[in-house]
C-alpha cells in the first residue's frame, strides 16, 4: 500500500492525513472469515446491539467507528466470546468463523480465543517478566521446550516491533515498560499463539501520539499474516490503517426510552469517508456528531 511506503520513509511523527488516501480495492485475499447475520446481544435485560450483519474479509483491517454506547466493543467481543465472561450476557443470531458457528454446541471458547486474539485498550502486561508474558500463551498450550519457546518469544517480539528494544532485558518485569512498549508487548503476547484473527479494542487510545504511530505501523505489517478488527474513536486512525469501516450508531426509541446499537453503514474505508450513503454516517465522519 502506498500509505505504508510513505510512512517508512518519513519519521514517526504524526501527520495530519487527508481523508481516505487508500487503495480503491482492499488488499486481502477476498475470503470471508467471519459471517455475521442478524446478531443481537443482551446484557441482562438491556439490548446492547440489534440485528448486526456484516462480512469480515481475510487479511484486511476492519475498523468499527461510532459514538460511545453504539455497541462497537460489544460486537467486537462477540468475535472471541469474551462476552461469555459477563454474567447475563446473551446473543441471538449467527456468527460463523470460516464456515463454523462460533457459538455452536460443541464449541469451546478456549479454542476460539486461541485462534481469535484480543488486545485491550489499556495495556495489561502480566506481572511477570517480558519473556514470561510472551511465553504465557504457548506454555498453556503445552509448549515446554525451552529452545522452541525462545524462538517463539523472539519471533513474536520481532513481529510486534519490540525485539530490538527489549532483547537484552527479557527477564525484567513487563510492568516496567512504557505505555507504547507495553501495548506492543501485549500484541506480541497475542501473536505468540499464532492466532488467525487479532481483535483490538481502541489499542492506541491510552497512548501518546508517537506510540500510537508505532502501533498503527505495526497493524499494517500484521495485516499480511492476520485479519484485524479494530474499534477506534479516532477517525483519522481509521482512515490511516483500515481497509473497510463499519459505522455504528445509537438508536434511541423515545417512546419506550430505550437505546440500542445498530450497524448503519459498512463499506470500504474510502467509500465511508468520501462518499457516505447514510446521513448519520456523513454527520459522524464530518465531525458534526459525537
Amino acid at each position: 500500500m502506498d500509505q505504508s511506503e510513505q510512512d517508512a520513509v518519513t519519521t514517526r511523527l504524526p501527520r495530519p492525513e487527508p481523508l481516505a488516501k487508500q487503495a480503491a480495492e482492499p488488499a486481502g485475499t477476498g475470503n470471508v472469515i467471519f459471517d455475521v447475520r442478524d446478531v443481537s446481544i443482551w446484557y441482562g435485560g438491556f439490548k446492547a446491539v440489534t440485528d448486526v450483519s456484516m462480512p469480515v474479509y481475510e487479511n484486511e483491517i476492519l475498523a468499527f467507528i461510532g459514538s460511545s454506547g453504539s455497541g462497537k466493543s460489544t460486537v467486537l467481543r462477540a468475535f472471541n466470546r469474551m462476552n461469555d465472561l459477563v454474567p447475563g450476557a446473551r446473543m441471538e443470531g449467527e456468527l460463523s468463523y470460516r464456515g463454523v458457528s462460533l457459538y455452536g454446541k460443541d464449541v469451546s471458547p478456549i479454542t476460539v480465543r486461541r485462534r481469535i486474539g484480543m488486545v485491550f485498550q489499556k495495556p495489561n502486561p502480566f506481572p511477570k517478566s517480558i519473556y514470561d508474558n510472551v511465553a504465557y500463551g504457548p506454555r498453556i498450550n503445552g509448549e515446554r521446550n525451552k529452545g522452541k519457546l525462545d524462538e517463539i518469544v523472539e519471533r513474536s517480539l520481532r513481529g510486534a516491533a519490540l525485539w530490538d528494544e527489549v532483547k537484552n532485558r527479557l527477564k525484567t518485569s513487563g510492568l516496567s515498560l512504557s505505555g507504547g512498549q507495553a501495548q506492543r508487548l501485549c500484541i506480541a503476547r497475542t501473536i505468540a499463539v499464532e492466532p488467525d484473527v487479532v481483535l483490538m479494542d481502541e489499542p492506541a487510545s491510552a497512548l501518546d501520539p508517537i506510540a500510537t504511530g508505532a502501533i498503527e505501523d505495526l497493524m499494517r505489517e500484521l495485516k499480511s499474516k492476520y485479519t484485524i478488527i479494530i474499534v477506534t474513536h479516532n477517525m483519522q486512525q481509521a482512515t490511516r490503517v483500515s481497509d473497510r469501516t463499519a459505522f455504528f450508531y445509537v438508536l434511541t426509541d423515545t417512546k419506550s426510552d430505550t437505546r440500542t446499537g445498530v450497524l448503519v453503514e459498512y463499506g470500504t474505508t474510502k467509500q465511508i469517508f468520501e462518499d457516505p450513503q447514510d446521513s448519520r454516517t456523513q454527520a459522524y465522519v464530518t465531525g458534526r456528531m459525537g
Binding site: 485475499t29 475470503n31 481475510e58 487479511n59 468463523y97 470460516r98 464456515g99 463454523v100 462460533l102 455452536g104 460443541d106 464449541v107 469451546s108 478456549i110 479454542t111 476460539v112 486461541r114 485462534r115 498453556i140 503445552g142 499464532e194 492466532p195 488467525d196 499480511s224 499474516k225
Partner: protein, 296 residues
Amino acid sequence: MAVSADPQKVDLREPPSWRRTKNRIMTWLMVLAFVLVIIPLGLVIVTVVAKGASIISWQFLTSDIPVNIAPPGVGGMGPAIVGTIQITALATVMAVPLGVLGAIYINEYGGKGLLAQVVRFMADVMTGVPSIVMGLFIFSIYTLHFGFSGFGGALALGCLMLPVVIRSTEEMLKLVPDSLRQGSYALGATKARVTMTVVLPAAIGGIVSGALLAVARAAGETAPLLFTILTVTSVNKNPFSGPNTSLPSQIFSNASSSFVGAQARGWGAALTLIVIAFVLMVVARLVTARFARYSS
C-alpha cells in the same frame, strides 16, 4: 490458522483433554475445600444440639451448679449465665465507648498523621495478642492487688474487645462521605459536634453491628477469665469483688471432668453459649442490613 487461499474446515471443539481435565479437577478440589469445612461445623452443631438439648430446661438455666459428680438432670448453669452476662456487660460498657472514641481519633482527628498511623497499626497488632496473655496481664496489674473478681475478668475481656471495636468502627467511619461533614461544618458546627451529630449517626448501623460481633467473641472467651475470676460454682451478685464464673469457664472445667453428669451439664452450657453467640451474630446481621446506608 495459517494464511491460505482455500478456507480450511475449522475444528473449534474442546482443547486437549488434559487441560480441561486439570481445570475440572481443580474446580472440584475447591468445592471439596468447602465440603471439608462444612463437615466439622455440622458435626459440632449437631453434637452440641443433640447432647445439650436433652438437658436444657428452664430449671437448668436457673439452678445452681452442683458438684461434678452429680448426675445429669441435677442442677444447672444458672450462676454461669449470670456471670457471663455480668462480666460481658461490664466489658462492653468499658470497651465499646473507648473503642469508638479511639476510632474517631484515628479517622476524624488523626488523619494522615504519624500518630494515627501508629495507633491504627498497633490496634491491628493488638487484635493478635493471645487471649491468655491478656489474662496474665490483667492478673499482674489488677488481680494481684485487688483479688479475684468479675471486674478483673471484664477488664481482660475489654482489652480483647478494644482493638476489634476500634478497627471495625474505623472502617465504618471511613465509609461516611465527606460531603456530610462539610455540610455540617458549613453550618458552623465544631468538630466534636460534627462527629457526634452527623458522622456517628450515619455510621451507627455498622458500628453497632461490629460491636455486637465483638461482644459475641468476648462472651465465648475462656482464657482471659481463668486467672482473673477464678472459676467458682456459686452466683456472685457483686461483680466487683469475689470470684465469679461464666459459661465458658464452666464448660472448660466440666470438659476435663470424667463424670457423666458434669459432661452433660457441659454440653448444656455449650448449647446455651452457642445460642447466645449465634443470636448476637444474627442481630448484628440484621442491624447491618437495616441501617446499611453507606456500607457496600
